[in-house]
Symmetry: C2
Subunit: 458 residues, 2 copies
């Protein structure tokens, strides 16, 4: 029989234990009060210190997942990585992660890296799910790793950085199952955010265009999703049919705008679930033409006001980690989803979660997940326990802005470089964390793992 | 009912019409006579002139495929690109190709870029096939594009360059169907060929290590393939069970060595199909330990001699395009396969073709295809006709070495650059070919299409 309810069986999240508070950075940068905390909606920003990078974070997330869910590395048949942090233009991050599996005698693991800005993790996830449903599936698990480090040049974009990695185990009978028939994508050629300066770690960003592209893609995907749902189910779909909404989260303010936009979309298409009050407040804006409606401050304000009660209920539970870490690019959507599981664990059984993935350039998909509690170790409550988000957030070290800026200078200098040793300072890292020790004269990178402290000095 | 015989329905190949003969380059470089032509086994090398790149080649291959097989762009539901030629570290090549589909009102096309050296095209292909077999398939076609430009710094690696793009249409009831259950991969962490110097187009290569990695991966994949076949079919698999062997082809000499290696593998595992003469000649080498056997010149020579008759029959028909174009990285294996279809069109019905894909870093898979003539337009003979390989090879312009070196200097200078115009010289290009016109001050790239000449001056 074909595998049923294919989806996410288990998750682990890792992020650097080094961070800076956004209100402190705001003050240090001489920005107006609230520019980062309210304007962007961000609380704190994670970043890699000079001993961590996307490869070490991936190694940490994968080994932790395998250990905590007691998965034999030989049981993995496919591994896909999503990332837009390029350390090598040819050798995939996946091949670095193979070290874990080779050491256990398993080299028969399909999959490479999927790349397009923040969307690579979603592409990797779809690929793994499809593999399980395909005739080439050999009965083993899939593994998806989203890992990114977002850093920006000094200036207004800098506070939109972040870093983190999410690992997901894929297989049938999952507590987090894909509703694969309901899925719509919007893909298009755009220059909203890109990285054409190969020698620099920093992207070229047109912030205003990127926000419009994001919202246009959201509209297009939502329209497509509703059409497919209605065609297959024979009834109208509206936001009332979903319990939670999780968005790619470059910064929280955009998440607020996105949800409000969907509320407006339901009014514009005259969905039967829309109440009179919403119609009254947003109806007048439905005559705005596409571009005008993306620029209208009045619409933005009115729709956010109408959306507020539902936002608090359906979106806010999935905002914790992105607000605390910043943009994790490919890991961002899945860190938001992890927040939802963390916050609502026990009450998610039977719920539908809408997911919106966006990657500049541009690629976007809206899809939905059906959640059931599941059985340990593959249960929502065990996933929440393993991820242990609250503990990880509390165990971080806050940097002073001077030290953060100094670190950014070191990293700029090292980017793409060779023949250097890192400090090997692992004092901030939890046991079990991988770290970069040195890069040799041929650019080869070497990593070590911080061992667990042995009790009683043995 | 689940879709059957999913695979490649149609193919198109595009390569730059600019090339240099290897014997001329050999002479110009002051290399010993036969170093490139016999030592590497290469005849000619294709390269992009300053108006072509991996994006323009992808645009050309895709539009040509859609036109020649009369595929409505709205019928494409997924498009995946394999490439290791990084023009932008975030924005995928796939998004550039979306322009073709957006213009026809189709933006709902899943897929991004798959990346790991020369293996990305295979990853993209597997992803597309799996999609058709998954529950998320919506009945439309998949499209896979492998596009690469291989250039090397002046020195011994320079003659191993090449350039080209292959586009493949994916769907059920294909004349080129996947035997998805018989497939084995070997993935491992290696530094044989990589591109860590982000500011340079050229890779870092350890040629000797790369060859050993390739052969070790080949051994491992072949062992795995045989085991899976035997487990599922209940009988031994040997080379006698396959009609053709197609290899990733960085240079022809490695293809010769690879096939000979498989012949040796069959002797070493005492396959029942191996004849006495082969046993006698290669048996003595089976006591060599792994590493010794990769380094032994005597084994190489003896196995190539034993393999020769089968090489001519089962491998040589798939060597034309790679020998004429050089290494096309991700497109290389599929250009080799295209050569087989070109050379053996009418006789391929019912044949099994073994495929070996290798990407440094490293990722490798051996898989097999089952061929049937099929019905036009999706028939082997129509595919051969559309690809029109002989005509394309004959229509090329040969460069003198001085002019080639001059061009390489221009390209080195422009790599990763902005704010320049190309010559827009399309005199070498066939009508319908896309070309790069300029890159603006924000690194945005602009392309145009050479229109077909209008008859009678109208």
């Amino acid at each position: 029989m074909a595998p049923q309810n294919v989806g996410i069986l288990a998750m682990e999240i890792y992020f650097p234990p080094t961070c800076i508070q956004q209100d402190i950075l705001e003050n240090f940068d001489g920005a107006s009060k609230g520019k980062y905390t309210i304007g962007l909606g961000q609380d704190c920003m994670a970043f890699c210190s000079e001993v961590e990078d996307v490869i070490s974070m991936g190694l940490t997330a994968v080994t932790s997942l395998l250990e905590k869910y007691k998965i034999d590395p030989k049981q993995i048949g496919r591994m896909e990585v999503g990332s837009e942090t390029v350390i090598d233009k040819s050798k995939s991050i996946k091949t670095f992660l193979m070290k874990i599996f080779e050491d256990c005698g398993n080299t028969d693991i399909e999959g490479v890296d999927s790349t397009n800005a923040c969307y690579g993790g979603t592409a990797a996830l779809f690929n793994c799910v499809n593999w399980v449903e395909s005739s080439s599936w050999d009965g083993r698990y899939g593994l998806v790793v989203s890992t990114d480090s977002a850093v920006y040049a000094e200036g207004p974009a800098r506070p939109t950085g972040g870093a983190g990695a999410v690992a997901m185990l894929i297989g049938p009978d999952a507590p987090i199952a894909f509703e694969s028939k309901f899925r719509a994508s919007h893909m298009s050629h755009a220059y909203d955010f890109y990285k054409p300066d190969l020698a620099s770690e920093y992207p070229v960003v047109d912030g205003k265009l990127s926000q419009t592209c994001y919202l246009m893609a959201l509209d297009s995907c939502y329209t497509g999703y509703c059409q497919k749902y209605e065609k297959l189910q024979g009834k109208q779909f509206s936001m009332a049919d979903a319990d939670y909404f999780v968005f790619h989260s470059p910064y929280n303010k955009l998440v607020q705008k996105s949800f409000a936009r969907l509320v407006f979309d339901d009014v514009a298409r005259n969905a039967s679930s829309v109440d009179e009050s919403a119609k009254e407040k947003l109806g007048p804006f439905t005559s705005l033409k596409g571009d005008e409606s993306y620029q209208s401050r009045d619409l933005e304000k009115a729709s956010q006001q109408v959306a507020k009660p539902d936002y608090d209920k359906k979106v806010q539970p999935g905002t914790l980690v992105p607000k605390q870490l910043g943009n994790m690019y490919t890991a961002s959507l899945y860190a938001a989803f992890a927040s939802l599981i963390h916050n609502k664990t026990s009450s998610l059984d039977g719920k539908r979660v809408m997911m919106f993935s966006y990657g500049s350039g541009l690629t976007a998909t809206m899809f939905s997940l059906h959640l059931t509690e599941g059985k340990a170790p593959f249960s929502l409550s065990n996933i929440a326990k393993v991820m242990n988000i609250e503990h990880k957030l509390k165990s971080r070290t806050e940097f002073e802005p001077e030290k953060f800026v100094e670190l950014m200078h070191v990293m700029e200098h090292r980017y793409g470089g060779k023949d250097y040793e890192t400090s090997k300072d692992t004092s901030h890292l939890a046991p079990g964390t991988y770290y970069l020790t040195h890069v040799d004269s041929k650019y080869r990178r070497y990593y070590a793992k911080k061992e667990a402290a042995v009790a009683n000095g043995h």
